[in-house]
Amino acid sequence: MTAVLPAKDLVTRLSGVFAGKLEEAGRDSVLVRADALLEVAAYLKNTAGFAFDYFNMVTAADYYQYFEVVYHLTSTRHNHSVFIKVRCHNRANPSVPSVVPLWQGADFQEREVFDLFGIRFEGHPDLKRIVLWEGFDGYPLRKDWNR
């Protein structure tokens, strides 16, 4: 069974290295500060005890006050998984660091989130719309989008 690592344990295990940069967000997701995402992700991928080598998915949700970007990672070695969340409060220009340098599988998916939510992924090699056409007005999965 793929064990979802409880957020409480994960925060305890990571707090020595990333004090103040992450907190619990629900039973099994960890909220990470946007500016620390890349180093936390790299640590989770490259540390033997975690070894999150498999990038399941990234998506986002619009909660009006903020956008929440959700990452789901799995370790094929330990067969455990984790949900990482990042919040962007700047609605006019939301942005999070891109994790494409760590997992190539994030490439198309980050483009999709950019396309439908308008969240910029800083450092993405080729950030452009993917399912909608260039010049499309607005970001349809935002809650305030009006057709």
């Binding site: 198309f108 439908l116 993917i130 399912v131």
Partner: protein, 367 residues
């Protein structure tokens, strides 16, 4: 004498028989050699994730049919699994058995299409393709017995399935299983020693396991690269831990390995179907769930091992009658992540068979 050549861009699709739908590949070629490609998506984008936010939880099920339209039942299943997780709904035993049988029937149907289409792309136009389609047709007959629909089945419900199976269903399944098994033996015997298939598929489009993991590849494509990962065993859902089955893998990671893994998986699925059909208990086929449900606020991620790989639904509820957000982890879309690395350096004709061997459905890629 030497010729000077310069790279040029060739468009495949969006409407091309080899693109399996409406998909465009912008290929940069040097003569016949592929230097680089850029996939272009979105020709079939219907905004299904947005549409689901405007429908009730039950009303979203028919939309999932239209994602991977080759495996409608599997999509229904994955979506309902996520919603059941969200609402803490328990599914009756009998419904779980029915779900396992239809999920495995869909897997066989999908692999019939995947293998047939790959051989079609390799140039074996028609013959091997339609032999498999005849078998797939029989699966559709079985699914039609359940719900009257062949393609957009809309059969699985939150908390079970829409109606009990008719009395003639299980006998028909048990008649179909040995027939398909002997067909596959014969089919595989002819193809695995076919020189043209070996020349076209062996050693072509190799996907190294570390690239596959890094790109998030799942399903038969990953297993053909030696990654022994199958959610039916690694993260068992429904009642899969009760059944005995093997997870076929190959080490080579080429197009031929993908073909072999799919054939072997079909045989394993038959094995599961027989076990499920023989041990199916009587009883209710749907939990007492109203059509309008309001799951408690929160979020859930439900995933299953679909025929193409990990198919997941991330559903967020705000305790209203419609999902606040519903994201589909679309297998076909993510499995395309490695296409660029797989085709570089190969010839144009190889590009077609490599692309065909990944097995994608555009409805799921674009959503």
């Amino acid at each position: 004498m030497t010729f000077s050549t310069e790279p040029f861009v060739l468009n495949f699709g969006p409407l091309h028989p080899s693109t399996h739908g409406v998909f465009r590949i912008k290929a940069t070629l040097d003569g016949e050699v592929v230097l680089d490609i850029e996939p272009v998506f979105g020709y079939l984008h219907r905004g299904i994730e947005k549409l689901m936010e405007e429908r009730t939880y039950t009303g979203g099920i028919p939309l999932t049919d239209r994602l991977d339209y080759v495996n409608s039942m599997t999509n229904n299943f994955a979506y309902c699994l996520a919603v059941e997780k969200l609402g803490g709904i328990k599914v009756p035993e009998r419904a779980e058995y029915i779900r396992v049988i239809i999920a495995e029937l869909q897997r066989i149907g999908n692999h019939c299409l995947a293998v047939g289409a790959m051989l079609n792309d390799a140039g074996a136009l028609g013959t091997p393709f339609f032999y498999l389609w005849r078998q797939r047709e029989k699966i559709y007959d079985l699914l039609e017995m359940l719900c009257g629909q062949r393609l957009m089945n809309n059969y699985v419900r939150i908390g079970g399935v829409s109606q009990d199976i008719p009395a003639e269903f299980l006998p028909a399944v048990m008649k179909f299983v040995p027939q398909l098994r002997s067909f596959l033996d014969e089919y595989d015997f002819f193809l695995m020693q076919n020189e043209i298939l070996l020349a076209r598929a062996k050693g072509v489009g190799i996907l190294p396991p570390e690239v596959a993991i890094n790109c998030g590849i799942s399903g038969p494509v990953a297993r053909a690269s030696g990654i022994k990962r199958d959610l039916r065993r690694d993260d068992p859902y429904s009642i899969y831990q009760r059944f005995e089955f093997e997870i076929p893998t190959c080490e080579e990671g080429d197009c031929y390995a993908r073909y072999r893994v799919r054939i072997a998986e079909m045989l394993q699925s038959l094995h599961i179907i027989v076990q499920a059909a023989q041990s199916m208990p009587p009883g209710a086929t749907k939990a007492d769930v109203p059509h309008l449900i309001r799951p408690p606020a929160g979020e859930a991620y439900g995933h299953i091992e679909g025929p193409k790989g990990e198919l997941g639904f991330y559903v967020v509820s705000d305790n209203s009658i419609a999902p606040y957000r519903c994201h589909v982890r679309a297998t076909s879309f993510i499995n395309l992540s490695a296409l660029r690395q797989m085709v570089r350096g190969w010839k144009v004709a190889d590009l077609i068979i490599i692309f065909g061997s990944i097995d994608i459905t555009m409805g799921e890629v674009d959503r």
